[in-house]
Structures are given as structure tokens and as C-alpha cells.
Symmetry: C2
Subunit: 341 residues, 2 copies
């Protein structure tokens, strides 16, 4: 595997509240801003899955979030944070997935246009979602250069504001609202297991959860075929990969300069799992939890059931584990093919 390293932009400062791009105050402000618009998603549990894992598991179902994924929290916070003048030009992003639909819905709610650059390979249900929320779809080739070129053209034409999918304080603060709800719903949680990709969700969740309960453990779950975050933690700097290979289409992004310091400091460990473990977890979610999830959404359960986790003495006293089920946007045939693998 070819590994490409890049330099880190450090944003650390002296004071606690300015250390990261988000903090507990910005998360609480985000919640005040968005709470009437987001679903307070339910938490499911299952004695059967508790028996299989040997722990008490709690599933925070962000697959039931508006737009079908947690991304709506951050997008909504970012869009509502804009001044009227900024908002008037509309918003734009490039995304293969859930952030695009979430941003379209947030823009629709604010009554402004969303210009979305989508790579041609994006799952059709995700493109459908963007259109359902009146997002303007602009197709790009399946590489970052083309995505950025198309987006820059859109920005020149429209002056729309760019809302990144992860590496942004407003996004991190929005996703962090998951912790506020989850720890209120299940106060006994001692460990949170969260999918990691660009790091916006786990950064927001870690900041808020550790502010509420400093003893809480934050574990990231990552596919082995896209383990840039695990490699970054090991190397002590952001590592980007040139090749990624995983079924989990939502977990292919890399950490950024705002999300990396939080992952470095507040994420206790990263558990990597194989795609077959993700598929096994998807099947259990179908059969036992009765929920539809995309592969990325199953990785938390996959991590908890993995040998890596089960056999590590460091995690033996993780007894009440909160698992964030990130999203449910999956094409029916992809879902079926995955379950039959």
C-alpha cells in the first residue's frame, strides 16, 4: 500500500476553550440552534446482541435522522450559522454521500439554494436524496481534482459558501450534539464507539462527551482497507492513503487539520475491522435490530464484536457501550448483495 504523508497544520492554542475548532459551548449552542429541526433519534438495545457481545450495548440510531444520516446535524448547524448575507448566495460542497443530501435539506429549510458536486460513482439512493431536497446536482469525475475543479467553477458562478463535510468547527459542533442526547438518554454509558472517516463526527462527539464525563472512553471504528486514522494515530501526524478499499463508502475520507488534533488527543483508540466483519454486523442489525443501515453504520457493532476488541484487556471494563449507527442510506441492491456476501 502506498502511503502519502502530509504536514499537519497545528491549531493548538493556550486556553482550553480555543484548543480545538469546537468545544462544549459551541456544541451546546449548536444544539440550541438545531434541536427543533433534527430528530432526537431513539436508542435501541437487544438482549440477544448483549449476549453475543458480553456487554450492554446501546445503539443511537442516526440512520433515522433526517436525510438518513447524522450529517444533517452538522449541515444544519453550519447553514443556520451563516449571516443572512452569506446565506443569500447559497451553499456548496462536494460529497459522494450523506453530507450532500444533508446540506441540501438544511439549505431547503433555510430557503437558500445548495449546489452539490457529486462524483459519478455516488450511490444512486444518495443522489436521489439530494434531488428530493431540491439540491442542484453537478456531476464530476471520480477523483478529488475533478470534484474541486467543478466546485470552484460553481463557486465562481454563484458565490455560494463552501460547507466542508467534516473539517469545520460548525460541522464538528453539530455532530457533537449526538453526545448531548445519547448521554442524556443512557447516562450509564462508559464507552462510545464511533465510526471515523473525515473525523467531524467523532471529534464533536469526543469533545462533548469528555466535557460531560471525563472518564468516558472514545473508541473509533475504521475499516482496515481505509485505516488512515489508525495510521495517523500511530504516526502522530495526519496520514493520507493513496489507495482505499472498503465496502463502507461513507468511511473513505481523511482527517483534516481541525479534526486531527481532537482525534489525536481525545480518541482513546482506533479499532480496525475487515469488510467481512462489517457485513456480519449488517446482518445482525437486519435480523435482530430490524434496522436498515449502510455499511458505515454497522462498523461500530463490527468493532465491538471483533477479536481485536474482545480480547484486549484494556477494554474489559467497557460494560455499557454506546454505539453510533451513523446512517441508513444504502441502495436496495447493494444492501442485498452485502447481506449475501
Amino acid at each position: 500500500m502506498v502511503i502519502l504523508t502530509i504536514s499537519i497544520t497545528s491549531i493548538e492554542m493556550e486556553g482550553e476553550t480555543t484548543k480545538y475548532a469546537a468545544d462544549i459551548s459551541s456544541v451546546k449552542e449548536a444544539y440550541d440552534r438545531i434541536k427543533s429541526l433534527v430528530h432526537r433519534t431513539p436508542v435501541l438495545s437487544s438482549t440477544s446482541l448483549d449476549d453475543i457481545s458480553g456487554r450492554k450495548l446501546y445503539f443511537k440510531c442516526e440512520n433515522f435522522q433526517k436525510s438518513g444520516a447524522f450529517k444533517f446535524r452538522g449541515a444544519c448547524n453550519a447553514v443556520l450559522s451563516l449571516t443572512d448575507e452569506e446565506a443569500s448566495k447559497g451553499v456548496t460542497t462536494h460529497s459522494s454521500g450523506n453530507h450532500a443530501a444533508a446540506l441540501s435539506l438544511a439549505a431547503k429549510i433555510r430557503g437558500i439554494p445548495a449546489f452539490i458536486v457529486v462524483p459519478k460513482s455516488a450511490p444512486s439512493c444518495k443522489v436521489e436524496n439530494i434531488k428530493r431536497y431540491d439540491g442542484n446536482v453537478n456531476l464530476a469525475e471520480d477523483n478529488m481534482q475533478s470534484r474541486e475543479e467543478v466546485m470552484n467553477k460553481v463557486r465562481q458562478e454563484t458565490s455560494a459558501i463552501y460547507i466542508p463535510s467534516s473539517n469545520d468547527g460548525r460541522i464538528m459542533s453539530g455532530q457533537g450534539t449526538i453526545s448531548l442526547e445519547f448521554l442524556e438518554q443512557i447516562p450509564q454509558i462508559d464507552t462510545l464507539v464511533v465510526p471515523i472517516s473525515g473525523g467531524g463526527m467523532i471529534a464533536g462527539i469526543a469533545i462533548a462527551a469528555k466535557a460531560i464525563n471525563p472518564a468516558i472512553r472514545i473508541l473509533a471504528a475504521e475499516p482496515k482497507g481505509a485505516d488512515d486514522a489508525a495510521q495517523s494515530k500511530a504516526a502522530g501526524r495526519i496520514i493520507k492513503l493513496q489507495e482505499i478499499n472498503t465496502i463502507a463508502d461513507g468511511l473513505r475520507a481523511f482527517l483534516g487539520d481541525h479534526t486531527w488534533p481532537v482525534v489525536r488527543d481525545l480518541v482513546d483508540d482506533i479499532i480496525t475491522v475487515e469488510d467481512f466483519e462489517i457485513i456480519k454486523a449488517m446482518k445482525l442489525c437486519f435480523k435482530i435490530l430490524k434496522i436498515v443501515i449502510e455499511p458505515s453504520g454497522a462498523i461500530g457493532l463490527a468493532a465491538v464484536l471483533s477479536e481485536t476488541f474482545q480480547k484486549n484487556p484494556a477494554w474489559k471494563d467497557c460494560k455499557h457501550i454506546g454505539i453510533v449507527v451513523s446512517g441508513g442510506n444504502v441502495d436496495m441492491d447493494v444492501f442485498w448483495e452485502s447481506l449475501n456476501k
Copy 2:
């Protein structure tokens, strides 16, 4: 279609509280008995589905109930209502589906055996569920005579107590606890749409809901290919069919002498839908609600989206509609085939 009529056993009496086999008090007693054991299932909603239906819809997700269906409420209430002496012999039933697994789990919790007679054609996931909860599976042929013969043999050998799947006051009271939760979760509900089969669930729900809010409308949803309840309402007496033909394997039972009087008196109307409407609703539940449901569980949404309902001026002012999603026990391949029809 050949129709076989049978006589009605009237159980009506003078006093309000003894009119039916269950009443609001027995439902509340049931809830006190079972509430620490059942899931308080979440209610989901979706702006997209509200837009499609032109109403506010609330989905009570009993597919997330223990054992994968609402049946656990009634089975749990019945098993916990037994004296220690009665319980010591174990319980038995014949069922092709969710009641069997629910009864097995309830018996397991009480620490007594469950002897389940299952027709050979039962979905394999449902048989798996029975075994997961340590139920003793006794196979019968695919007809009522064989099921009853096998069960009678089991009863002679074990003296186990028979717990019917629907036509029983304890079962009706247990299922009625759905109303207590649902109307507490969403007090503005003006209409409940409930699948009808043996009638135990809708009877319990109607009794409790109308005691809480006499103005609430109770609508049953039934497959056209198994419309015995609609025919019974029209005829003013229990009608049983000799042929049934529907994808909804959970909705093939007939009303009994305890459930019929409640359906006759408290169910405002029965909406029948074609199988293709059920399948369309299953797809929407997959794509938009992100939940796994069996065909029976989709029939409430199918009914609300049907022309029969949408064009009926009598239901024009049903604005806040509570839909009971009854269960999620479906074989993966059956689910997939259904979604592709």
C-alpha cells in the same frame, strides 16, 4: 371465493367493565405486569412520508419489540398472569409465527417450558426465533386440524397451559398496552391504523385508546386476499374464509368470540389493500424510514396511502395518524423478493 360462516358466541353483559374480555383496567394491570420486561418502542416520523400521505404520520415501531413483534406484550402478560401451579406445567400454543417466538421468550423469562406447534411452512426466521428462546418445536402439517391434533397430544403429555395467539382477554390486554404508550408519546393522535388478523391487537388497542380518548378513530388494515374481518363487519357476524391469498403471513387468522365483539363495536372501519400496495409500503419503509418490517407490518402505511382511504371524505379530518408497525420478522430472501416485486 367460498365463504364459511359460523355462529357467534356472544359474551356481552350489562355492566361496561364486563362487556368485553378486556377493559382499560385489565390493560393497565397488564402494563404494570410487563412494563419492566417489554421495550417502550420508539415512534418514528418522516416529513417525506407526511408529504406523500398529506397527513402527519407517527409509526409505533413494534418491529423493535422483544422477539421482533408486538406479540411479546400479550404473551408476556398471559404467562405472568398464571399462578405458580399453572405455570409449573409450562405453556403451549400452535402458531406459524410471531406469537410462538413471543410465548417462548415469555416462558423463558418465567423459567418454564414452552411447547410450540409449528406448521411446516412457517418462515425459517420465525422458527429460528422460537429456538433462540429455547421453545420446544413440534412440527405439524399445514392445516388447522393437524396443528390442533399435535397440540392436543402435547397437552396430554405435558399438561401445559394453552395460550391462544389472539382470542384471549390476557392477550388482548397485553397488546392494548401499545395504546397506553403511543398516546402518551404522541398525545395529538386522532386516528389509529392497526393491522387486523385474529383481532387480539386491535381489540386491546381499541379498548384502551377509546377509554383514554373516546373521540379517537380506530381503523383496521386488512389484506384484500384475507378480508374476513371486513366481511364480518359488513355481515354483522364472524365470517371465516376457506381460501386466503396474501403475502402478509401474519394476517391470515380469523376473529374469535372474544375479539369479534370489540371489532364490531369499537373499530370504526376496515380498509382493505392489495398485496402490491403492501409491497409499495414496505419499500417506502426501507427507503425512507430505514426499518426492516415484515409484510404485515407495512399494511398500516399501505392503508393510509390507499385510494380507499385517501378519497374517503369520512377520513378527511384524520390529521394525526398513529400507525402500528406490528413486526419485523421476515426472512432475508423473502424481504428481498418482496421489495423486488
